[in-house]
Every structure is written in C-alpha cells, then in structure tokens.
Symmetry: C3
Subunit: 352 residues, 3 copies
Amino acid sequence: MTDTNNYTLGELAEHLGAQLQGDASTEIIGLHTLSSAKAGQLSFLANPNYQRFLEETEAAAVILHPDMAPLFSGPKLLVNDPYLAYAKLSKLFDGQRDLVAGIHPTAVVDDSAQLGLGVSIGPNACIGQGVCLGDGVMIGANSSVGANTVIGARSRLYANVSVYHGVIIGDEVTLHSGSVIGADGFGNAHEVVDGQFRWVKIHQLGGVRIGNCVEVGAATTIDRGALDDTIIEDGVIIDNHVMIAHNVKVGRNTAMAGKSSIAGSTEVGAHCIIAGGVGIAGHLKIADGTKFTAMTLVTKSITEADSYSSGTGMQRTKLWRKNAVRFGQLDKVVGRLSLLEKAMAKLLPKGE
Amino acid sequence: MTDTNNYTLGELAEHLGAQLQGDASTEIIGLHTLSSAKAGQLSFLANPNYQRFLEETEAAAVILHPDMAPLFSGPKLLVNDPYLAYAKLSKLFDGQRDLVAGIHPTAVVDDSAQLGLGVSIGPNACIGQGVCLGDGVMIGANSSVGANTVIGARSRLYANVSVYHGVIIGDEVTLHSGSVIGADGFGNAHEVVDGQFRWVKIHQLGGVRIGNCVEVGAATTIDRGALDDTIIEDGVIIDNHVMIAHNVKVGRNTAMAGKSSIAGSTEVGAHCIIAGGVGIAGHLKIADGTKFTAMTLVTKSITEADSYSSGTGMQRTKLWRKNAVRFGQLDKVVGRLSLLEKAMAKLLPKGE
Amino acid sequence: MTDTNNYTLGELAEHLGAQLQGDASTEIIGLHTLSSAKAGQLSFLANPNYQRFLEETEAAAVILHPDMAPLFSGPKLLVNDPYLAYAKLSKLFDGQRDLVAGIHPTAVVDDSAQLGLGVSIGPNACIGQGVCLGDGVMIGANSSVGANTVIGARSRLYANVSVYHGVIIGDEVTLHSGSVIGADGFGNAHEVVDGQFRWVKIHQLGGVRIGNCVEVGAATTIDRGALDDTIIEDGVIIDNHVMIAHNVKVGRNTAMAGKSSIAGSTEVGAHCIIAGGVGIAGHLKIADGTKFTAMTLVTKSITEADSYSSGTGMQRTKLWRKNAVRFGQLDKVVGRLSLLEKAMAKLLPKGE
C-alpha cells in the first residue's frame, strides 16, 4: 500500500481533543492492537480484558481512559472513549484505495451526465444517460450507474457495483463491491389462460432513495419500489449479503449485520440493531430501538422496543435430535400434562 | 427517466379487456397507489383494506372489481382481478432501462458469436467464443457471457451479470445484476497422501439449462451440474440472493423468495412456493405444489403437497432464553412426564 | 464447448494407478453417470445404490472397486476409491473455460504491476498499481484487482470478481464470479454530538491472506481485517454466498457449504465441516474437526470435536404452529410438571 501520512502524537491529541501525557513529538506511523503493535505504532485499550497487554506492548503510545493512565508508563492519549478515539484515527491511517485522478480513458460516460468537481471514475466504469455525480464522487472499476441516477458528494462506489436507473443516493455514501441498488422488487400477479397458470411480472416503477452517510456492504441488494420508493434513511449501516426488498423503509442509524433481510413493504424504525441472519417478514412495522438476536425470524410487528429472539440453543447433534423429536410432539405432551393435572386435582384434598 | 408513452383510458381498457365507465379519452400518464397517485395517474383497488382511500385519491381513474364500482365516482376500469390488471399495465409504464441501440463500441464480442436481429450489447460487456444470442437480446454493461452459451430471444441481462460457458438460457429470461449462472457446483472428493489430507476438486462438466420466461434476482447463483445439467423449467421466478446448487431441478412456475436455497441434486416440483430463507437439503424430492414458510429447514423429501414449517415463534429475548433452555431438556422433561403418568396410573381406580 | 482431449483407457489407468481389465486401447471421450453415459464415455460406481445401472449402461468402460469387478463385463478400471478416481479424471475432461492467451487489449493493467510467465488477463479486467500476479494466473473478464494485491501461481479469477487492495492470495486458488475479497469489515464506534447519535466508521486497515489451493464460490465475500488480517489457510473449500467477516481465521481444509457465515474475530479450526446456512457468532473458537448441521446457530465456543445442531424438525405448518406456540410456554410447562411431581411425591408411599 502507498505510504499513508505520519503524524506526531501531539497532532493526534489535538485531532481527538485528548489529554496528552508524554512526548508530543513522538512520531506515529500507524495503528495496531496492543499485542501486534510495532515500534512507531499507536495502540488503544478499549476492552479491559486486554489490560495485561499494556506491559509488554511495543506500541509507541497508547490511547487510554484516564482511570487506566497509571497502568502504562509510555506516552499516552487520555480520552473517555478509547474505542471511539481509535475509530476516528483509523480514517487518518487508511492507505490508498485505488483512486484514480479524473476520468479513466476507458470509462464510458454518457455526454448528458453531469459531473461535480474532483469526480474520479475508474477503468471501464459506465455512467448512463442523465446521471448526476456530486463533487468528489469516486466510481470504482467496472461499476455501472444507470440512467438518471443521482449520487451525492463524496460518495464512493468500489469495483463491480451495480446501480440501476432512477436511484437517488445521498452524500458520503459507500457502496462495496458486488452490491446492487435498484434491481426489480419481487412482485408477481398470476393468471390462468386456457388452463395454463402463468406469473405476470409487476414491473417495478418506483426507485430507491438512500440518505447521507450510509454504508452498504459487499453483495448486498436493495430493490427498487413497485410504485413508491424503497427508502434508506441517513446514517444506516449495512453489512454484506443483506437483502432489502421493495418498498421497505429503514429508519435512521439502524444497523443491519451480515445476511439479514427485510421483506417487502416493512418499515423498520430508527436505531434498531438487526443481528446476522435475521429475517423480517413483509408488511410489518418495527418500533424504533428494537433489537433482534442472530437468525431470528420476525413475523409480527413490534410496538415496544426490546430485544427479540427465535430459534433454539445449540447442542450436540445426538442430544439435539431427541429434543427436536420431542418438539414435534409438544402440543400432545402438554395435553398429557393437562390430563395429569386434572387427575391430580381429583386426588388431592380440596384447597391443596 | 425518459418519458414513457401516455395512453388514453380507452386504450388501456382495450388492452385489458376491461369494462370502461367514464370518459374514454382521459389521458393516463402513469400508475400509482390510491394514496400517492397524482393528477393524470391511474390507480387500482386490489386490497379491500385500502377502500377508504377511494374517496380522497387524486387518481385520474381507478381499476376496480365490478362490485366496488359504486364506491368510486370518477372514470374507472372494471375487471375481475384488479391486481392482475395493474400488473399487466405496469409493463406499459416502465421507463427507460439503459438500453443501448446496437453494440456499444467498447463491448468485446468474439468473432465467432452469432447475434440475432436487434441485439443490444452494453458498454464493456464481453461475449465469448461461439456464443449465440437470439433476436432482441439485451446484455447490460460489464456483463460477461462465456463460450458457447446460448441465450434465447428477448432475454435481458442487466449490468455485471456473469454467465459461464456452456449455459443454455431460454426466451424472455431476465437476469438481474450480480447474478451468476454456471459457476462450479461444490463437489469434492478427498484423499490422504503421506498422512496429509487433501480435497480433490470434482470438475463440474455439466451445464445449466434455464427455460423460458424465468426471472433471476440480483446476486442469485445457479451452479452448473457435475455431469448432468442443473435445470430450471419454464416460468420459474427467483428473487435475490437465492442459491441453486448443482444438479438441482426446479419445476415450472415454482417461486423462490429471497435467500432461499436448494442443495445439490434435489428435485423441486412445479408450482411450489418457497418462502424467504428456506433451506432445502440435497438429494431430496419435493412434490408439486408444496409450500414452505420462511426460514424452514427441509431435510426430508415431501410426497404430499401441503405447507411445511420449522423453527420456533419469536419472543422477547428474556423469555425466549428460558424456553430455549427448556428445549435443550425436552427429552428428559417428557421422560419425567411419563414417570408421573405411570405413578398416576397406580393411584387411580381402574377404568378411570 | 471446444473439444477436450481424448484418452485411451490405458492412459487413464496409468494416470490413476488403477488396475485395468479389458482393452487398454479403448478410446474415452468423456465422463458421465452410469445411467446417462453414451458410447465412448467412462463411468464409475461409487454409490452401491446405483449398482443396478451397471447392466444397462452404455458406458465404454467403468471405474469400480475390485469387489464389484464381477458385476460388469466390459472394460474397467479397478481402484479402492472410485469416487476419488472420478474426481481426478474430471480435471482431464473439463472443457474450455474462456481462457485468453496473454493480455486482452481492453484490459487495463497498471504499468507498475508485475506479471509472471503465461499470465492471462481477460477483456476489460483491471489490474491496479503494484499488483503482482504469479506464473499462469488467469484473470476473468471484467474482474478487478486492487493496488498492491499479490496473487500466486496458477490461481484463477472468473469474470466479475472483485479483489480489493492489499490482499495476499496463494497458489492454485480459484475465485468464482461475484466473489469479493477484501471489502471493509463491519466495524463502527458511535458518538453523540449535540444530542445527535452517529456511527463512526472504523476504517479497516488490515488485509486478507488466503493460502494455497483454496476455492471460493460465487458471490462469497471475505472481508479485510480491522487491524490484523483475515486468514484463510491452505486447502479450505468455500461454496457460494458464504460470508467471512473481518479478522476471522479459518483453519486448513475446513469446508464451508453455501450460505454459511462466520462473524468477526472467530477462529474456526482445521478440518471442520460447516453445512449450509450455518451462522457462527463472533469472537468464538471452534475446535479442529467440529461439524455443524445445516442452519445451526453457533453462539458458544466449541472445545470438543463433535457434530452440533440447533433448530427444530420440519412439520406440516398446521401441526407445527401448535407446537411452536407450546415452545413459547415451555418454561411454564416445565414449572407445571415440577408442581405435579411435588404433589405426587406427597401422595406416594415413601420409597416408591
């Protein structure tokens, strides 16, 4: 990777608004964990379980909570949230990401497209008719942006991203490779003609609107609406292999982990946490601040913010099989229990 | 989006074979829901829950069941299935979809490829040796079609689609962005040489055959067969993130919702409905007309059409955890119940 | 497909080290199953269930276990593991796979890239700054390789593969279409500024290291590490739609079936078998040789190799619904059972 900039510890303290203890001129060439940091790297202690690494770390300096300051004798930055401080600094040390300056000669940009200042378009990328790219937008190699799509300032598409026509994307949005925005939602009527059943596709006439500061993971798909738009509000973060179906609305700052899905027309509130593999059925409404644990199937609307789950625990297969068989008899088992309770009631003296 | 054609209400009535009530010259410029329709748009009432929107809609006209006709005073189209009528009209109002006329100069088309009349090939698309494209086929930007693959008339590949070599695709098939047809099935033998285990790849020598009028969603994969072909019959509709493994056969008109999967060599019948996230194990046979509810794991063949399910309901995590613990003890719990039943039998008078 | 080479049965016997019975000059033009083999093709009997096809097969010759030799009268190859023999021969009969000789004129290769001998780069592929490709590497159409990535000898990327910057890939690795290697892991801190919550992205500064002889399926994603690398060891085989999150380590020869996932920082041992749809939570450690059955959710570390499962069996939906309701009452049901047991204890004579 191309060299990133180096910083002095004093500069980083200023960037964070952190209290500096030690030599402000200490040069910092990168970030790493306490156990892997090499000379010149800055590290951090966010999880108390790693406290024991403080003594042996080779890091040039460490970010710590003020309460932990006595545990490290070298140069340090004191902040209330070391994990947040690390996140903020990570941006400074992120290396080259295949930016091209300007428009690569192999890119195909329609004459009618409007390009902001400092737009970068990678090799073999295709920008369709009437597309509007804001200032500083970066389009990766082999990506495709369909007709009349609008992409806001400083948004970045990595390689092999597909954005269909008529999509509106905000500022500072990231779309990772293999993501697909604006493919047709899955809508079909059916008819029987001369005794033959056939599906009749509902052409998807709506679009997709993505707010500002949204991140979309690799191989994630967000379908266009049937008539209204599919909507992703500001600050939503989305991992890989996520599926968002047509006419879904995802509220601000909601987080969706890998392989989670939302079926058509469901409205998910703001600040929800949707763990990996969760499936939310269609036409539901999920309250702000709701959490779902991994692989939960959600088939009812949620009106009260809480954590919700489905499924069973994991066991050795041999034991699990016996219990799974019993699950299949559960209603009958409870019936047997009820019979016993009635029998017992007859046997017991009154009032017991 | 480029302007779509406009139609008079009379023209649309004729297209549908609908009974028209009101001014046949009413100009219709688009379709929308009752609540969102603007002046000039046509709407429809398919779900009785939306009946209350009939009074306040701004739609220029509405599609209704004849029984509902008295509820709307404006121009209307009367049909037995308004949802189907909406589906049929949606095609007319679907805007520009990034078609290129002819072959874009940056497309790479092998000299040996045979192209039908009116074929469109987008920027940077690659058409391999011996490929055969039927009349009116459209290939999206940056898509790739492997050697000797055949694609039938009027089929459409969106941007960034990958079709491997030796695949046969029918007429009027749609492949959405990120879909992959004909990658290798997951087959491996193994051997131990000098005490070292290693996997030995089974090269996948079969192909994929897709029938007519099939739709394949974004980021969906259909693997090639090991020796025989993987087969998708006519009229099958497939949503996003679906996985169809090698040597699977999917029968006509079956619908597969997002994230459903079929493992190797399983045969799914015709007219099945496979909900989101369903996983069907390998080497099974599923009867025509079978339905699976969302996220069901199917490990047995199905001989009788019905709806099948697995999993548990969703609860608040705190309560769910207690029940999940009990699931893990279920076989023992039933054992305790049986003991109690025996004890009770001794206590009870005969015949009770 | 372009003609593959033909072989004599004698040559194939030598290739496998098999005992040949019959005419060594029998010409073999391909491989197929016993029931589908045509004249000139070689078949095999690995599964005793197919023994009945031996009589009627049209295959020119068959691979058999020596114990089965008497059941087939034609030319045959005798080996201890016919399935392994078939796997080994499948490589010989695999047809053309869209190889290009040399570098296609439309490929965009940075001047600073180092290319080994016999490298093939397909149409519109993009090779970034400082990339290093080993001897015989093949890069498919429209694939993209990010800056400073290293790909070992004889590795193959199919069409539309995305490899980010700073990734290290070993020898003889296969990446199928739509796979994405090195996208950002899903890491975010958060802060509240002026009462407004916002996510703060943790830039992912680590890379991905993939060993030798690894296969990665279509639409599979392997994210780069936050600070350390994500690691896939030698011989790992990975199916389609698999998600491997940041800082995961997958041990040698582990197999991951379609749609399985591993969340961040989990270490999976060697020789594990992870079935389809399995989800493994983050920060766990899974012992060598562990197996998980399909769609199991793994939320605890595993210290002892065994097979593990979660979920329930499948039933008709009507019956399943009743049992699922009972699952939601399970803790209470066991409470009722305990009360009954206490009542019974009072009724029963001592010692019974």
